[in-house]
């Protein structure tokens, strides 16, 4: 068995952390077929991935995870810039041909105009409709209807339960009623099946689109959402939301967000397909959140954006 692990990609935030602070003492938090989470003392997760999963913030992608998969939960793992020690075995990290990937959005690109944002929302909606029922996208047909009209015919149990609350949240944000929206988020965070509950993927999209479009109250709003999330959702999901506060996203989400908010020649279908491949419905839930975020932005005018956050 080789004691060298070939690194394909490393997130720049992890790269920086390892360069400045290693060795890092962690505990093995969870093991999946293509990913392993290591938990730091401050509850942040470092994610080891194989080539079947796309890179995420604080993530490192290897050609293969096979050598690491036999370790037990809660084992001590030490990770440093050039090596990893797991269950007493040390491996050298071969980073010579690794890509260092920045999980934040490159803000130097030209942002879309208001009309173009609306157009992006329409294209994204068309894509989601073409993909059929998947997670929260069931609710697409009910956006903009009165509650009496909604009826929720054919919706699954989860969507039926959350629809009104979610639509209220969207309306509050569109009216820049930030304070009420934060309170309403308590009724959304952590809801839905999966390790990153559907509504958290939705919120991650909303938060990151606000950051990407430089909405003045986004930083305050986002940090309050994350404070609210502590204890209300899974640790994996809380990590995702914490990254999203500053616009750091898994690569497929980052690319979809970039397509949505910047003038670009990128092909929506390829990008959105990659996002949809995340989790069971996570990618669809994120896409739905992004679509709602774009619609919210198109409804805000500058006066209302000042909002009532004081």
């Amino acid at each position: 068995m080789s004691n060298v692990l070939k690194v394909v990609t490393i997130a720049s935030d992890l790269h920086s952390l390892l360069t400045k602070s290693s060795p890092l003492q962690t505990r093995l938090h969870s093991v999946f077929d293509h990913a392993i989470n290591l938990e730091l003392d401050d509850s942040r997760l470092i994610t080891l991935l194989d080539k079947h999963r796309q890179i995420v913030p604080l993530g490192i992608q290897f050609a293969s995870l096979e050598n690491l998969r036999s370790v037990e939960k809660d084992s001590k793992v030490i990770i440093e810039a050039d090596g990893i020690t797991i269950a007493g075995l040390s491996y050298q990290l071969d980073t010579c041909s690794a890509e260092v990937w920045d999980p934040t959005l490159p803000l130097s690109r030209k942002p879309r105009s208001a009309d173009s944002l609306q157009n992006a929302a329409e294209q994204l909606e068309a894509f989601m409709r073409s993909k059929g029922s998947n997670g929260l996208t069931d609710l697409l047909s009910h956006i903009g209807e009165s509650q009496e009209e909604q009826g929720m015919v054919g919706a699954n149990l989860y969507n039926e339960f959350i629809a009104d609350t979610l639509f209220d949240f969207i309306e509050l944000l569109a009216a820049s009623n930030w304070k009420a929206a934060v309170l309403q988020s308590k009724k959304i965070i952590g809801f839905g099946p999966g390790l990153t509950p559907a509504c958290d993927d939705f919120l991650a999209a909303i938060m990151s689109v606000l950051v990407a479009c430089d909405i003045p109250y986004a930083p305050s709003f986002n940090s309050q959402i994350v404070s609210m999330a502590a204890g209300r959702t899974t640790s994996v999901s809380l990590n995702m939301l914490t990254h999203a506060v500053e616009g750091r996203l898994p690569r497929p989400y980052q690319q979809l967000l970039a397509w949505a908010v910047f003038e670009t020649d990128l092909d929506l279908e390829a990008i959105a397909e990659a996002a949809y491949a995340v989790g069971s419905s996570s990618g669809a839930d994120f896409s739905f959140g992004l679509f709602c975020g774009l619609r919210i932005l198109s409804r805000m005018d500058e006066t209302i954006m000042e909002g009532e956050f004081a």
Partner: protein, 519 residues
């Protein structure tokens, strides 16, 4: 009865949970199952559904729970829990149950005599894996799709240079030296060799020839694009040559959607020089050109199987194009079926899990009435062009547009189950379906269809209507799902089960003719 099972600090990925929740919901007596992480709001949903139990007290967002509402006379929480962990372990056994080499080279060290690699990784990584396998002197079966045509050409050229097979990409079925690969049926061993560029078409031919007493030497898949201009039929040619050289093979069958004309010419030239008889079903290919090559053109997959078996037995080769019933009996069945319909029921709906079977259906039915599809025979018949809600529709539910984020409908019938609900309505007259058995397929596809038809009958019965359902089963009595019990499940729901897809299509056509024209 409501009960819960909990696991503290346990994490399961969402794809696994989705599949397992669905399977648990199907257990007898189970009314509702919620499985997930115990976040505040998820527990609120449990409360809202009145499924709270004491076990859920004190759980946090990193704890896992299953809550179930069920009829305790039919099942128990222990049975549900057992099933949950069985399903979970079944999934894990693929990775934990035995040594799984992490790389191709370690796999070869583990099994030095191996000469074939089956590759199923996401498309963007597949070419590199195939390259490594070919370099190691292995034949390849590439199940992955989303491989570029440039990569496919390069890899197939390399395979040809090395005298190897590169079956795929998107190759769904093969039987090599008696070993079924991916989706394949249990077929007796014999002297007929098949080269197929279409998955379910090949399965239909092989199961038909088994039913007719034939057996298989080899089934070589090529992938659906092999007979395109760009690839030039490299693997079909390689496959034919392999079967010609194979002493066990006495008759060769070729299956594909219509090839590009120049590739067809190459295939016909090889068929002409073949010392063994060649049967060709290119679904609407040029029958005259095939005859000119000394080969045997076919009217259907069933016809291809019949011709191959006849050639093997030295019998006269004839076209098979009817329905295996005396005309009077057939007319009685049609009259009885049509009598159950109301005058405003005039729509045809085909819901297929097998793409080539859907193609075969449309090729035949399209001559009788316009038929819209996601895999249309001509661009103007694309489903997007269907005006309004109603019309004659035939869908291949295994196409990428329906399988994103969910398994192929041959593996998980849920996609088709949803289409039964959304597409069968008061205007539907005839519903045509396929049921594909075999390795790789769902454990009870016939049961899933039967359940859906029962739901349809109940739903339409409330408005005083019924529909006619016609089905065929691609499978054999040796398949794990059992052909006889599959047939019985369908017939118990009043479904007209025909012995082949071709005959099911012809019966559906006869019934539609009667519905539309009264003849």
């Amino acid at each position: 009865m409501i009960k819960s099972v909990i696991r503290k600090n346990a994490y399961y990925d969402s794809v696994t949970l989705m599949l397992i929740s669905r399977e648990l919901s199907k257990m007898p007596g189970v009314e509702e199952v919620l499985a997930g992480m115990a976040t505040e709001l998820n527990l609120e949903l449990v409360e809202n559904l009145k499924m709270v139990t004491p076990e859920l007290d004190g759980l946090g967002p990193n704890d896992f729970f299953i809550s179930a509402k069920f009829d305790e006379t039919q099942t128990s929480i222990e049975a549900l829990e057992k099933k949950f962990f069985e399903l979970l372990n079944d999934k894990k056994s693929h990775s934990d149950g035995q040594y799984q080499p992490p790389t191709l080279s370690s796999a070869l060290n583990h099994l030095p005599g191996a000469n074939l690699a089956q590759i199923s990784v996401p498309g963007k990584y597949a070419a590199a894996e195939v390259e490594d396998a070919l370099d190691a002197g292995l034949h390849v079966m590439l199940f992955s799709d989303n491989v570029s045509i440039e990569d496919e050409l390069r890899l197939k050229q390399k395979a040809v240079e090395k005298g190897l097979l590169m079956m795929g990409p998107d190759c769904g079925t093969a039987i090599i030296n008696g070993v079924p690969l991916c989706f394949a049926n249990a077929i007796r061993h014999g002297k007929i060799g098949v080269v197929g560029a279409s998955g379910t078409g090949t399965q239909e031919v092989t199961t038909q020839l088994h039913k007719m007493g034939g057996g298989l030497s080899q089934v070589i898949g090529t992938g659906g694009r092999d007979l395109s201009e760009a690839i030039g039929g490299l693997m079909m040619i390689q496959g034919i040559e392999a079967l010609i050289a194979d002493p066990e093979t006495e008759v060769i069958v070729l299956i594909s959607k219509p090839p590009s004309p120049s590739v067809a010419d190459k295939i016909y030239a090889i068929a002409k020089s073949s010392p063994k008889p060649v049967v060709i079903d290119f679904i609407g290919g040029n029958a005259e050109a095939i005859r000119a090559a000394g080969a045997y053109p076919c009217l259907s997959f069933e016809d291809a199987a019949a011709k191959a078996v006849a050639l093997l037995k030295g019998e006269k080769v004839k076209d098979i194009d009817g329905i295996n019933l005396p005309e009077t009996e057939l007319e009685a069945i049609i009259d009885k079926a049509v009598a159950t319909l109301k005058p405003d029921q005039t729509d045809f709906l085909g819901l297929y899990t097998g793409g080539t079977l859907a193609d075969e259906a449309m090729k035949y039915l399209g001559e009788s009435f316009p038929i819209y599809s996601n895999i249309p025979l001509s661009p103007e018949m694309a489903i997007e062009h269907l005006e309004g809600v109603h019309g004659n529709i035939c869908l291949d539910l295994g196409e990428d547009q329906f399988t994103q984020g969910r398994p192929h409908p041959m593996i998980d019938p849920q996609t088709r189950t949803e289409f039964f609900v959304s597409h069968v309505d008061e205007k539907t007259a005839v519903l045509l379906v396929d049921v594909v058995l075999g390795y790789g397929s769902h454990e009870d596809p016939a049961g899933a269809v039967a359940d859906s038809v029962a739901e349809i009958r109940q739903r339409l019965g409330k408005v005083g209507k019924q529909i006619v359902v016609v089905a065929s089963i691609t499978g054999t009595e040796l398949d794990p799902q059992d052909l006889a019990s599959s047939t019985r499940k369908l017939e118990e729901q009043g479904i007209l089960v025909m012995p082949s897809n071709a005959q099911a299509v012809r019966l559906a056509d006869r019934i539609m003719q009667k519905v539309l024209k009264g003849v």
